[in-house]
């Protein structure tokens, strides 16, 4: 290759490095090594995401392949490390001097600052210390909550933070689950921490979004967070909200033009989710830009294997989206509905837009250009995300003359897209005549990615592009043209899924080394950039390699996070190894006295201590317990000219302390005493005392007790555990509640109403007891029938007593009118004299036929020559087995025409009838006799049908 190219660096005012590219042909320009290590303040080293440090003078190829290069230290951290370690030199740590600092963030929401030489903890900060008001629990989000096993067992900090070296601020995006009043809130926060202390800055943290999810019902409450206008997945009334449960912000943070950008996708494609880019003012942490990749669609997350969006010198952001909605129809060359699934996007600041006057994708950012593969539909259908890998900008001018400024990216389909950043190619849609039209980009290299699909980020060094699918390959770029396949012999052994993003270290054009973390081998592997087929070094990674993670090379050392540790490698030289004897710390209880730390070094050099994690504080050799939990303390000996540094850790398990809470109870009351305020003597924990009703009729809201009935009322006071105290024993008190003088009674059902005489009223009589508007339960209510002739009866007689239910209602189901027609008033009353009246009417209506319940016999019919009619008798016998209410009427139906009943009491619609006088009721088995006289026109046969009715004909 006749030309080589590489880049120098300059720190920006904000700390994130923007690569100022120098392109040269036929000669090499070597940057002047700095007198100190290069800072690593952002994902993949710089805003172009080229992932290379060119000022590494210590880790030469010879040094790395020598026996002197080895693991130096490995220290535990409190969670998985997905984020790339960052590095700042010359940080003044209060009371500790100047250190070169390695920053590590964990999925347990921990942030650490380690001394780069000893990995002694300079400070660590748990971002779980901050929670929503009233939160009783603040934890990383359990994987089960997001329904995906992509990232286990918990999700905290995934995105690589970004550092503003100019003012010593590290920005961190953290995800938490916070329980408030029994409901889980999923919260994303942006923290701005002081690199020297870990303390929050700029009034931070701020809440990016807070979403409450009830769980399986898949409905959400968007308590706060950014939104855009649109009809996309999960939209509510034309607004798409940031779903803090579903969204995962995996790509590294970006710091550009005083703005911190956060980019997001989701957990395992579990929706509703969208691709988001959010911009926050770096100094105030206020939201200043919102961009949604699919405001009217779904998915299209920004994954990029954790690589941060690339940023060019003009401040344009480049992101690539995964599968999701893409509008096949274009308007003015852009998707008609502004949905950009499986698309490489160029996003520019849009100061003309605001939250109230947004552009189609949000505000503060807008689409400037884009490229979508012509086979996007089939890619999306097969989940072959374009945006599975990172996006990298080649040095300015590295492309051919007509396309000097290029970017590269590749997705799951292993197809490398080489795109002109100034003319990205848009979308060349298929037609019936051209089902597979070419992508209108600079180069489209199908199958170029070594080892298959791209789940990592490209790297760039000295005119070479490095790509990793399942293996790392080198592509020599000639005259701006990328070959279709990796250089011959320039592919590494397989690194396993998901591939490995290479970090390049070099001293200018010399000693180029590609460092990768192989997940399949659980190793840190160093290759010469001139020979990827062999390894200069292989070293195991304590704790195991985490997918997507990237090693950081700085200051002559290599740093890599793992599932539970940060490990450093470097030159051991001829220093003697020393060990630290750090006795076990055992267990303690919160509140115990400080613990003396007694570690000794075999070198007899002094040992220093630092908190690795947990609620403790170290002063000298004294550990002060500041909370319950596991406190991991690191004992360090920094070494000297003779002794190599050494560390050891021990964990003190601090149990929660006991607490006692007192509760005397409110004493006996009447229902008229109003709302009572419960008081209790709280124990030592921060958890509030809560009250509950064990039995009886009352409700409690906070400490406000509302009496809702009479009788015994048992109350319980509880105080939950908190981080440092166990729950206090419950205290139970029973009081007596009696009916108050203010209690009122009202008829609420069954009045007015009516029923035929001798029948039950159809509607239950219901009265309601209240006191001050509060319904009372358990109050005896007595219903009494009137004493007049028009009355009725309850099942138990003339009165009936029943207790009110939980709604304050007392009901009488059966009240039967007596046989007298007219109005009556039933009275309900309670013990304090309050009463209510029910207006009821006994309706006089036709009697009820009871013929089927009796045997009727016709006897002794004789023609009388005196009256010239027939005289006879009829017997009626009750065969029903039940008493038959009188009065009884014997009806002579269908009487032969010409005949009549001479002694009829009256005539009904059924015929003439005779009242059975002297028969108020007919007992079972008894017989009544009716004498009847028929007026007859002559002695002649006649007939009739006898029928019996109970009641009175009107």
């Amino acid at each position: 290759m006749g030309a080589a190219q590489y880049c120098g660096y300059a720190g920006t005012a904000q700390g994130e490095t923007v690569r100022h590219n120098i392109l040269a042909f036929g000669f090499i320009i070597v940057s002047i090594p700095s007198t100190h290590a290069q800072n690593v303040v952002t994902s993949r080293y710089d805003s172009y995401r080229q992932s290379a440090t060119l000022t590494e003078t210590i880790l030469t190829r010879n040094a790395v392949k020598s026996a002197s290069f080895a693991q130096l230290h490995s220290v535990p951290v409190d969670g998985q490390v997905y984020a790339q370690p960052l590095y700042l030199h010359g940080v003044t740590i209060p009371n500790s001097g100047v250190h070169n600092v390695v920053f590590v963030a964990t999925e347990h929401d921990g942030v650490y600052a380690f001394d780069d030489a000893t990995l002694a903890v300079l400070w660590n900060k748990s971002l779980l210390a901050v929670g929503l008001p009233g939160a009783t629990s603040v934890i990383p989000v359990p994987s089960n909550d997001v329904g995906s096993g992509d990232l286990t067992p918990e999700i905290g900090i995934t995105a690589t933070p970004v550092i503003d070296a100019s003012n010593g601020t590290i920005y961190v995006e953290a995800k938490t689950r916070e329980t408030v009043a029994g409901r889980n809130h999923y919260v994303h926060r942006l923290h701005a921490l002081d690199v020297a202390t870990g303390n929050e800055k700029f009034g931070g943290p701020i809440i990016i979004a807070d979403t409450t999810s009830p769980g399986a019902t898949a409905s959400y409450v968007y308590n706060s967070g950014p939104s855009v206008r649109g009809s996309g997945d999960g939209s509510v009334s034309g607004v798409v909200n940031f779903n803090a449960l579903r969204q995962l912000c995996r790509p590294g943070l970006v710091l550009s033009a005083q703005t911190v950008y956060v980019s997001c996708a989701s957990h395992g494609d579990n929706g509703p989710y969208h691709g988001w880019v959010l911009g926050y003012d770096a100094a105030t942490l206020q939201l200043k830009a919102v961009f949604n990749t699919v405001p009217n669609g779904s998915e299209a997350g920004i994954w990029q294997s954790g690589d941060a969006p690339a940023v060019d010198a003009q401040g344009n952001l480049y992101v690539v989206t995964g599968n999701g909605t893409f509008d096949g129809t274009l308007s003015g060359g852009f998707p008609v509905n502004h949905n950009y699934g499986d698309t490489v996007l160029k996003i520019s600041p849009d100061p003309a837009s605001t939250a109230l006057n947004p552009n189609p994708n949000g505000w503060g950012l807008k689409v400037a250009d884009y490229f979508t593969p012509s086979n996007q539909a089939s890619l999306s259908a097969s989940d072959a995300d374009v945006g599975s890998g990172g996006i990298m900008l080649l040095p300015d001018g590295a492309g051919p003359a007509v396309h000097p400024n290029l970017l590269v990216t590749a997705g799951k389909a292993a197809e490398l897209y080489v795109i002109d950043r100034s003319n990205m190619g848009h979308y060349n849609p298929p037609t019936s005549g051209t089902p597979n039209p070419p992508n209108l980009i600079v180069q489209d290299l199908g199958g170029a990615v070594p080892g298959g699909g791209m789940f990592s980020g490209p790297s760039w060094y000295a005119g070479h592009l490095f790509l990793s699918g399942g293996a790392l390959g080198r592509f020599s770029v000639t005259n701006g043209v990328i070959p279709p396949h990796a250089d011959s012999g320039q592919s590494s052994a397989g690194t396993g899924f998901p591939g490995a993003s290479a970090t390049i270290s070099a001293n200018g054009a010399a000693d180029g080394i590609a460092w990768v973390l192989s997940r399949s081998a659980n190793q840190l592997i160093a290759h010469s950039t001139d020979d990827l087929s062999t390894a200069l070094f292989r070293g195991s990674v304590p704790g195991g390699v985490v997918k997507f993670t990237v090693p950081t090379v700085a200051g002559g050392r290599v740093f890599a996070g793992s599932t539970n540790a940060l490990t450093s490698w470097g030159l051991t030289g001829s220093l003697q190894q020393q060990t630290i004897n750090f006795p076990a710390l055992g267990t303690a209880t919160f509140g115990d006295a400080p613990v003396a730390l007694r570690a000794t070094a075999s070198s007899n050099l002094p040992v220093t201590y630092a908190i690795v994690s947990g609620p403790g504080r170290v002063t000298g050799s004294t550990l002060t317990i500041t909370g319950a939990g596991a406190i991991t303390v690191q004992a360090s000996q920094a070494g000297d000219a003779t002794w190599a540094p050494a560390t050891a850790t021990q964990t003190l398990n601090v149990n929660k302390a006991s607490q006692t809470m007192t509760f005397a109870g409110p004493g006996n009351h009447t229902t008229s005493d109003g709302v009572l305020t419960l008081t209790a003597g709280a124990g030592a924990s921060t958890s509030p005392v809560t009250f509950s009703v064990v039995s009886g009729s009352a409700t409690i809201a906070g400490a406000a007790l509302t009496l809702r009935g009479v009788g015994a009322l048992t109350l319980k006071a509880s105080q939950a555990a908190d981080a440092n105290y166990n729950a206090a024993p419950d205290v139970v008190r029973t009081i007596q509640v009696t009916l108050g003088s203010r209690a009122a009674l009202a008829a609420t059902g069954g009045t007015p109403q009516s029923t035929p005489v001798s029948s039950a009223f159809p509607t239950a009589l219901q009265a309601r007891v209240t006191d001050g508007g509060v319904a009372l339960a358990g109050v005896p209510v007595t219903f009494a029938a009137p004493t007049g002739s028009v009355s009725g009866s309850f099942a138990a007689g003339s009165s009936f007593t029943v207790n009110t239910d939980a709604s304050g209602n007392a009901s009488v189901r059966v009240y039967t009118a007596n046989s007298n027609a007219g109005s009556q008033t039933v009275t309900a009353s309670i013990a304090n004299g309050a009463s209510a009246a029910f207006t009821l009417t006994n309706i006089a209506t036709g009697p009820v036929e009871v013929t089927s319940k009796v045997q009727i016999l016709r006897l002794r019919l004789i023609y009388s020559f005196r009256s010239h009619g027939f005289n006879g008798s009829v017997t009626v016998t009750n065969t029903s087995g039940a008493p038959m209410a009188g009065p009884l009427q014997l009806v002579f139906s269908a009487l032969t025409p010409g005949f009549s009943v001479a002694n009829a009491t009256g005539t009904s619609s059924y015929g003439p009838y005779i009242t059975l006088t002297g028969v108020p009721s007919l007992a079972p088995g008894t017989t009544a006799t009716v004498n009847v006289q028929f007026a007859a026109p002559a002695f002649q046969p006649f007939d009739y049908t006898p029928r019996l009715f109970s009641g009175v004909f009107p």
């Binding site: 009727i856 016999l857 019919l861 004789i862």
Partner: protein, 201 residues
Amino acid sequence: MMSLPRIGLLLGLLALPAAASPVSYQVAVNTTSALGVVGDLAFQFVPGGATGFQSATATIALFLSDGHTTSALPASINNNFGLAITGFTYGTFLQFVVSFNGPALSSPGGATTGSTFSLSLLDNTMTPLPITDANGNFVTVDVNLDGSTTATATSTAATISVATPEPSAAMLAALGLLGGAVGIRRAFGGAGIPSSATRAL
């Protein structure tokens, strides 16, 4: 002649249980207060209604009186609103045997109405004689639903008793009646014994 005191004034109920054979009653009426009155004897056998009864038949026999009939006595009357009126000139007494038979007595069951046999004594305006009861009757016999019978003398001038059907008793009765007939013929100038009574023997 059979003297009235020997017949006796039986006023009251006389009940007989259901029996497979016909049930017979001896009826006697003292008509002295109506001596010489021309009128009618009315026999009726009526159910409680035109439906719901079992059939029965009342047979009149052994009629004997010192008055005399002016039209034929009924041989039998059915309980389907049966009515027979016989012209009659009253003497001092009359007597006869009435027998009941039919399904209502021999196989009672399922009926909802009984039947009642009665005798009324009327004058020539079809007005009951003063000695009768409120309905104009002297005796009634109820055929009950269970096949039993209940006989009632409803007037103090009448008696009703169970007739004994043994041959010896019947022979004695026939002899007595024969003697009585002679007496009546003497007292009333030869009024004969009704043929129906003779037939009933």
